[in-house]
Symmetry: C2
Subunit: 309 residues, 2 copies
DNA sequence: CATTCATCTTGTCCTGGACAAATGCCTCAG
DNA sequence: CTGAGGCATTTGTCCAGGACAAGATGAATG
């Protein structure tokens, strides 16, 4: 009986909508109100909570910070600006010197010049090769876009637009690469439920394919049991899972451990993405927090596993 | 403190997980138990509900049927087989005669011969053109895959795999098409929050691009306010939104009406996808439930809007 | 400096009631 | 027989306020 873009009487947001938009569960919203006094929504005639857009924005920032390890009690009293500042500090002094290329790309994005953006990216690939493009340009650009979004200098749809064009470019490049059926290792790529970001996956696939691996991507949000079934059915040498910064550290750790336990021992498990570092040194899990780790891991696999089969 | 693939003591599923897997909200699960006696989960030592995998499977089927207009009170007493039967009846007698091509494709999918699957699709494009491929082969194949999944004859990851390969093929075809910057109409494609399926969008984009339109895809799940902002910023003549069968009919109707109200009057709104028919005849919204409607709509737009600008 | 243990914090789940919106059903006039 | 209008029922969402397990923190100890 309820819909996402519910009729908003005066721009006020009911609790279900607030959950969807901020990512904070309804129960948690009520308990935060009880414990920390934030948020303190007004009520409609029926006594139902109505949140302001500012509340929801602050909740979204809090959620992001909590996923990075912060604690709600510390964050609740802070202002929106404080939260934004705290989100941006971890990555130091890269605001002005982001590089002319990145600035150029951001500029085209702001002007919605999608063709120009794609051309810029395509020529960067031709100029320096796909590997350096993925490792340098894309990584920097993605971070710059993320920060611009946090700081409110970019609309949500502009971020969507950016992702869409980037996916397009990378997919195109990938299709141009040879895919020898017998190549090794056979790598199964995916993301676990709750992690919808497939971009990191695509970047990883580029580097793996460049390194001569045989890639098979399942796309995002594959249930763990299905990952295991697919790995078995496809005879994968390696299962590569991407954890974006969105995933709470603890969730990533546990998911990796569970998957490791369920996979055949001879299948390697590689964890990539921003939260991969938090997966920590786990037995039988190779963490590749940075993209350049990928070619290295491939080399290592070949030197170790060259014998069998 | 909770994670998707939570440690399952004996294959039993706590309520949060059940919500994620079935798509039925926690509150609704409790209220169904109170009213209809289904599901009736066992409890752990703390009194928390624990659902079986069969319960969750039945819940997922019920949710699908309810989204199609059925009512929970009627469905709760039925068995899993009854639900499956009810889901499959609407599309009559297309089980055996699905066509040799579709059978071939399904077969390759079951054998995880992804390269073979892509080759098959690619040659179909060459043989009959992109338009017929999208309208006939893809539409039939997608339905066949969906039905195989409902009937349990296909794993979830196999469906992921299928989607991934299809997206790849379509994206590749799309990149081969000319994109004259001045072409009209300018169409903005997207999906509203809650609708993650981007495949329909991609199919529509193919047909629109073939029809000479200038497409700009925002990808999935763009908030309505952002759709409006993007349409304005990009000077879109048409905003095309895709509603898959996953979207409840009422939700689709309301979302379309809200979006229509928020868009500038001179911007047309087109609704496509399986639930588009349920959007019903709404003022100012053009519903395109079937893919062949797209070229038609393009012709109509050109004949009407040829004058202005 | 590392490790163990007690204390705090935090998210999730519980019950049982309430209500508004939407749907289906029935009646009545044309 | 058909269509419009009104009433009853169905259904999803929300509320309050309490409880608890598991993780994080910090202090005391070896």
């Amino acid at each position: 009986m309820n819909v996402s873009p519910k009729s908003e009487p005066a721009g006020l947001i009911p609790i279900g909508e607030a959950e969807r938009r901020s990512g904070v569960a309804k129960e948690t919203l009520r308990v935060w109100e009880r414990r920390y006094g934030f948020p303190s929504p007004v009520r409609d005639a029926a006594g139902d909570r109505l949140y302001t857009a500012e509340d929801v924005e602050k909740l979204r920032l809090m959620k992001t910070l909590i996923d990075h390890g912060d604690r709600p009690a510390r964050l609740a009293p802070l202002s929106r600006e404080d939260l934004v500042a705290r989100l941006l500090t971890p990555s130091p002094a890269n605001d002005g010197e982001a590089g002319a290329w990145v600035e150029d790309a951001l500029d085209r994005l702001r002007r919605h010049d999608v063709d120009g953006l794609r051309e810029l990216m395509q020529s960067a690939i031709y100029a320096q090769g796909l590997a350096r493009f993925v490792q340098d340009n894309v990584a920097t650009l993605t971070r710059a876009v993320g920060e611009a979004w946090i700081g409110g200098r970019l609309q949500v749809y502009e971020e969507h637009l950016f992702t869409e064009q980037l996916v397009r470019i990378l997919r195109g490049a990938l299709d141009g690469l040879p895919r020898p059926a017998a190549a090794r290792p056979r790598v199964l790529l995916t993301t676990l439920p709750g992690e919808p970001h497939a971009l990191g996956l695509l970047m990883a696939e580029c580097l793996l394919a460049l390194g001569g691996a045989r890639c098979l991507s399942l796309g995002a949000e594959t249930p763990p049991a299905e990952v295991v079934a697919a790995a078995r059915a496809h005879g994968a040498d390696v299962v590569a899972v991407s954890f974006s910064a969105m995933v709470p550290a603890e969730a990533a750790r546990r998911a990796a451990a569970d998957l490791r336990a369920a996979l055949p021992p001879e299948t390697e498990l590689w964890a990539g993405g921003a939260s991969a570092a938090h997966v920590g040194p786990a037995p039988g899990v190779r963490t590749l927090p940075n993209l350049p780790d990928i070619p290295e891991a491939l080399d290592h696999w070949r030197s170790v596993a060259a014998g069998p089969r």
